[in-house]
């Protein structure tokens, strides 16, 4: 049985991604955002509001904490029903009283589920799930900025967040409550429910996605019957993102969940999981917006390797196949990922991929973009990688020697040249005989070339 490990401790109220900012984001040293006119934060309306034809007048109910025990569940239920009323948040002065009543009710529900035991009894499940569904499930509105670039533009924020946040909080507390019984919940949290939940990950509002991430993780952890379905639907979302639309705001969040799911995979890996790695995770590297979710993606990939070393070759060859041709920013990310992989690679696996891999690394070293060359040369600062190179010096040195020698004479950037000298020095110390042979044969070759001209 596979068990998802704990997500990095992330309380949705204080969102932390659990990942450091990828260095690629600072790639050109310019604060990108400041170059554009800062976009004003806009709020989104949700398409949902139009479906409520006549607005119901809310009347405040007695407080839960004052209710006699006998009436507690009944009152809880009434509050849930009250919270099914939706409000127009684009008109910020509309029905302020009603909004306040609902907010207070939601707060009370959250509080009650979080602190008191014995509240969650069977008849409340359908009511609670209904309240959650009515509030959170909605068709996400069209993006106000058709060329929305998550890296550069401010996201459109959900207007009804004051209520929505509390509903999410309630849902989370509900799932985390010690009284929560998966066997009861699975009747209401079904496939259709999960599918709608997954669709919400496309929300532009990062606060919403943060909640969704934690909630989906809990659902995956507690409702075992839905696991395969959730994985399949995430697959579909990714495939659509890769091959059809290239737009989905929640890729990073879904990958973060997957990272912890992969961690819990049972061994040997099922073919379904391997297929997911090869046909979904690796092709995800081709996305234009890779930088937004690269850290999470690389984490997933490394997780796979740590689970089962035999997938190493698939991964490296896959990355080499999708190696960026023109985008240097992505190239730096790929190199970073390769280093993460090499950090945990098994020597026997390393031997299988070293040739194509070091051909690519040699190509990166000769990149005129100094950050690409620099990133590749940093590999020689990594002790484990260095030990792998040393063991396989006979194969690797001939692959990179010509490039190193040439670039050391030609590169425009002084830092690169000094880095290369260090690398050459390391090689010389590793195997001076081979080094000398290669030097002389390289010189002979150069001579011949000149001669031919």
């Amino acid at each position: 049985m596979e068990t998802p490990t704990k997500l990095p401790p992330s309380s949705p109220s204080s969102p932390t991604t659990g990942f450091s900012v990828p260095s690629a984001e600072k790639v050109d040293g310019f604060p990108r955002r400041s170059m554009r006119r800062a976009r004003q934060r806009r709020s989104h309306s949700s398409s949902q509001f139009r479906y409520q034809s006549s607005q119901v007048e809310l009347t405040p109910l007695p407080l839960l904490k004052d209710a006699p025990v006998a009436e507690l569940h009944d009152l809880f239920c009434k509050k849930l029903q009250q919270c099914c009323v939706l409000f127009d948040f684009l008109d910020c002065v509309a029905d302020l009283k009603g909004k306040e009543i609902k907010r207070a009710a939601l707060n009370e529900l959250v509080e009650s589920v979080a602190t008191s035991r014995g509240v969650l009894i069977e008849p409340l499940y359908p009511e609670a799930i209904k309240m959650i569904s009515v509030n959170i499930f909605r068709t996400l509105p069209p993006s106000e900025n058709p060329e929305f670039d998550p890296e550069e533009d401010e996201p459109a924020l959900e207007a009804s967040w004051p209520h929505l946040q509390l509903v999410y909080e309630f849902f989370l507390r509900f799932l985390e409550s010690p009284d929560f019984q998966p066997s009861l919940a699975k009747r209401y949290v079904d496939q259709k429910f999960v599918l709608q939940l997954l669709e919400l990950f496309d929300s532009e509002d990062p606060r919403e996605r943060e909640y969704l991430k934690t909630i989906l993780h809990r659902v995956y952890g507690k409702l075992l019957g839905l696991r395969a379905y959730i994985r399949k639907q995430i697959n579909n979302i990714f495939l659509r993102f890769i091959y059809e639309t290239e737009r989905f705001n929640g890729v990073a969040e879904l990958l973060e969940i997957l990272g912890s799911i992969i961690n819990g995979f049972a061994l040997p890996l099922k073919s379904e999981h391997k297929q997911f790695l090869v046909r979904v995770l690796i092709p995800l590297h081709t996305a234009k917006s890779l930088s937004i979710f690269h850290a999470q993606l690389a984490y997933c990939v490394v997780q796979f390797m740590e689970k089962d070393a035999t997938v190493t070759e698939h991964i490296i060859r896959g990355l080499l196949r999708y190696w960026p041709k023109t985008c240097t920013q992505k190239e730096v990310m790929f190199l970073g990922e390769i280093e993460e992989i090499l950090d945990v690679i098994e020597p026997s696996q390393f031997i299988r991929v070293q040739e194509p891999l070091f051909k690519q690394i040699a190509a990166c070293i000769s990149s005129p973009h100094f950050q690409v060359a620099e990133r590749a040369l940093y590999f020689w600062n990594n002790e484990y990688i260095l030990s792998l190179i040393e063991e396989n010096c006979q194969v690797i040195l001939p692959l990179v020697f010509g490039t190193l020698y040439r670039v050391s004479k030609e590169h425009w950037n002084q830092t690169i040249i000094s880095l290369i000298y260090n690398v050459l020095k390391t090689f010389m110390e590793m195997n001076s005989k081979l080094f000398d042979d290669l030097t002389s044969s390289y010189k002979v070759e150069k001579q011949n070339e000149i001669f031919r001209l």
Partner: protein, 622 residues
């Protein structure tokens, strides 16, 4: 595959294989693009027996190479020996149709569709139909997605004569049904988008009994991306069905689509509204589509309203004649009135681009009473695009009520656009000037718009000055040379003395544009002296533009003027100290030489270098 007999003809394929294995993608790509040459060299038989199997085996390459391969194979029929052998192309294309990359797969499907036409009915059944079935039951979603696109092309041509026709068709429908309820939304999307095409090739009975349930299911799929594609299928299916079946079979579903909870589906309905209207006919239009259209025009998402607003004119035009006016006046116009003051600029701008078209449908009285106020509101809209769209469609109104009705409001709108801070807006309005001038008449133009047109000539954006020059030419074409001489030529020539050299150059550009439409007399008498005078300008850019201008207006001038006045000036410019001036002067001299040959050929004053230049350019000209 090496040449055991040392056969020379193996060389091409050896090269190909070599290059196909090259590390450089570009080389592999080149070699794939030369595939037809290689096939030609190999001959049809060896192409079939050696080249195609080789290609089928090498399908693991870069997507770029695969794309080229998929495309090439689509036109390979002749190279494998004609229609008789076309089925040899199926194996490599089948593999390509299962590739992950959408572009490659789509290209493979396109090629398969193409070569399906070249199969004989029997081959189709023996080779092509099994391929479709294999793809349709493939493991990975890619092959099933590709299969969806092949049903529509391969079944109509499976011969009706063959006794298995019926069963083939039934299995086809069965396979398609499986695809429509596929596990992955990708396949359902593909099926949904091809459902209409497949329906078209089936007999009506099958459409009714089999396609309709599929359509209904797809149109209520849990994913909106599937539902929205079903809308288009619905339109195609509706067009196939007889009127009496529409109400029962498709209308409930289409009605539901128009009110779908996802705005993307509603958008699709709005976007396909004209096609839908055509497909369902006048009665259903009156009863169902009119209220649906009203709702779309009032939709809560601006995207949907925009799509619907775009259709207002076409929808109204195609309403049944007997009730057209009533429907528009009582149902559509009230919504249109609201849209005029919509909060979203794209909605208003979409409406502005079609609203003028309503006037021809509604006639003079209604236009004056109901539409005119709307035009006027839109002419004052805060977004320039809205105003521009109104102005660009003025001709529709002109036909019905004449433009006079509008001119009072038109003028401020035009003036404001003409002075808009965004140069693209100014550019757009300039482009409508000739049209406006034609409709407003010369008097109105002289009185109100002429000064605008002249002001653009000194705009600080080059594109505007350029467009303004071109505009002048079109105006002269409309109003005639005499008008030009009296109104614009003096002003243009006046700019020759401006202190700003850019304005002086504008004079030259205007002369370039105007000389031909103004004719020889005006050009020689009024323009030429100014140009010649400018040849001594201190700014080199002005001087070389004089040379270019002289070359340009040369054909309009008479030969005596050329000889006596133009030639000496050009010769002087040809000795200018500025390189560019020299160059353009020489070019002008040689250019002139071509249309005025006899006077120049023995001219001794011609400098050696210009003769060289002349021969050089002559030998280059065709």
């Amino acid at each position: 595959m090496a040449g055991a007999e040392g056969d020379d003809s193996l060389y091409p394929i050896a090269v190909l294989i070599d290059e196909l294995r090259n590390e450089d993608v570009q080389l592999r790509l080149n070699s794939i693009k030369k595939l037809s040459t290689i096939a030609l060299a190999l001959g049809v038989e060896r192409t079939r027996t050696e080249l195609l199997p080789f290609l089928t085996d090498t399908i693991y390459d870069e997507d770029e190479v695969l794309l080229a391969l998929a495309e090439q194979l689509g036109s390979f029929t002749v190279l494998v020996g004609g229609p008789e052998f076309v089925h040899c192309l199926l194996p490599p294309l089948e593999s390509l149709a299962t590739v992950e990359e959408t572009v490659v797969r789509d290209k493979a499907v396109e090629s398969l569709r193409k070569i399906s036409q070249e199969h004989s009915p029997v081959d189709l059944e023996v080779h092509f139909v099994p391929l479709v079935k294999r793809l349709a039951s493939g493991d990975w979603f890619t092959s099933r997605t590709s299969a969806c696109g092949l049903f529509g092309v391969c079944y109509p041509r499976v011969s009706i004569m063959t006794h298995t026709f019926e069963s083939t068709l039934i299995t086809a429908v069965m396979h398609f049904r499986t695809l429509c309820s596929d596990d992955t939304p990708m396949v359902r999307r593909a099926a949904s988008s091809k459902l209409g095409e497949f329906a078209k090739v089936l007999e009506l009975d099958y459409v009714k009994s089999d396609i309709i349930p599929l359509f209904t299911a797809l149109a209520s799929d849990e994913q909106d991306s599937v539902r929205l594609l079903a809308v288009e299928a619905g339109v195609s299916i509706a067009a196939l069905l007889p009127q009496e079946d529409l109400e029962d079979l498709v209308m409930p579903t289409l009605r539901q689509a128009a009110e779908d909870k996802s705005w993307r589906v509603r958008y699709m309905v709005a976007d396909k509204f004209s096609e839908l209207q055509k497909a369902v006919g006048p009665e259903i239009t009156k009863n169902d589509l009119v209220p649906a259209f009203q709702n779309l025009l009032k939709d809560c998402e601006a995207e949907v309203r925009t799509a619907a607003a775009n259709k207002v004119k076409v929808f109204c035009e195609s309403l049944p004649e007997d009730s057209r006016e009533t429907i528009i006046m009582t149902h559509i116009l009230p919504c249109v009135k609201e849209l005029v003051s919509d909060t979203n600029q794209h909605v208003k701008s979409a409406l502005a681009s079609v609203i003028m078209g309503l006037s021809t449908i509604l006639g003079k009285d209604n236009t004056v009473e109901h539409l005119l106020p709307l035009f006027l509101v839109q002419l004052k809209d805060e977004y320039p695009e809205v105003r521009l769209n109104i102005i660009s469609n003025l001709d529709c109104v002109n036909e019905v009520i004449g433009i006079r009705q509008l001119s009072q409001s038109l003028l401020p709108a035009i003036v404001e656009l003409a002075e808009d801070a965004k140069w693209r807006v100014r550019l757009a309005i300039i482009e409508y000037m000739p049209l406006l001038a034609g409709q407003l008449g010369v008097e109105f133009f002289d009185e109100k718009l002429n000064s605008l047109c002249m002001a653009w000539l000194i705009d600080h954006v080059y594109a505007i000055r350029e467009a303004a020059t071109c505009n002048l030419m079109k105006l002269v074409e409309k109003f005639g040379a005499e008008w030009a001489q009296n109104t614009i030529v003096p002003k243009v020539l006046g700019m020759a003395n401006d202190s700003n050299y850019l304005h002086r150059m504008t004079t030259l550009f205007c002369i370039n544009a105007l000389s031909e439409v103004c004719g020889q007399e005006i050009t020689t008498k009024h323009m030429l002296p100014v140009v010649l005078k400018m040849s001594t300008d201190q700014v080199a850019n002005v001087r070389f533009n004089v040379a270019r201008c002289l070359q340009k207006i040369g054909p309009v001038l008479d030969s005596s003027a050329l000889q006596a006045e133009v030639k000496p000036v050009l010769e002087k410019l040809a000795t200018d100290q500025d390189m560019d001036v020299k160059y353009f002067a020489l070019e002008a001299i040689s250019g002139m030489y071509l249309f005025n040959l006899p006077t120049y050929i023995f001219s001794e004053t011609f400098s050696f270098s210009s003769i060289l230049f002349f021969f050089f350019s002559f030998s280059l000209s065709p």
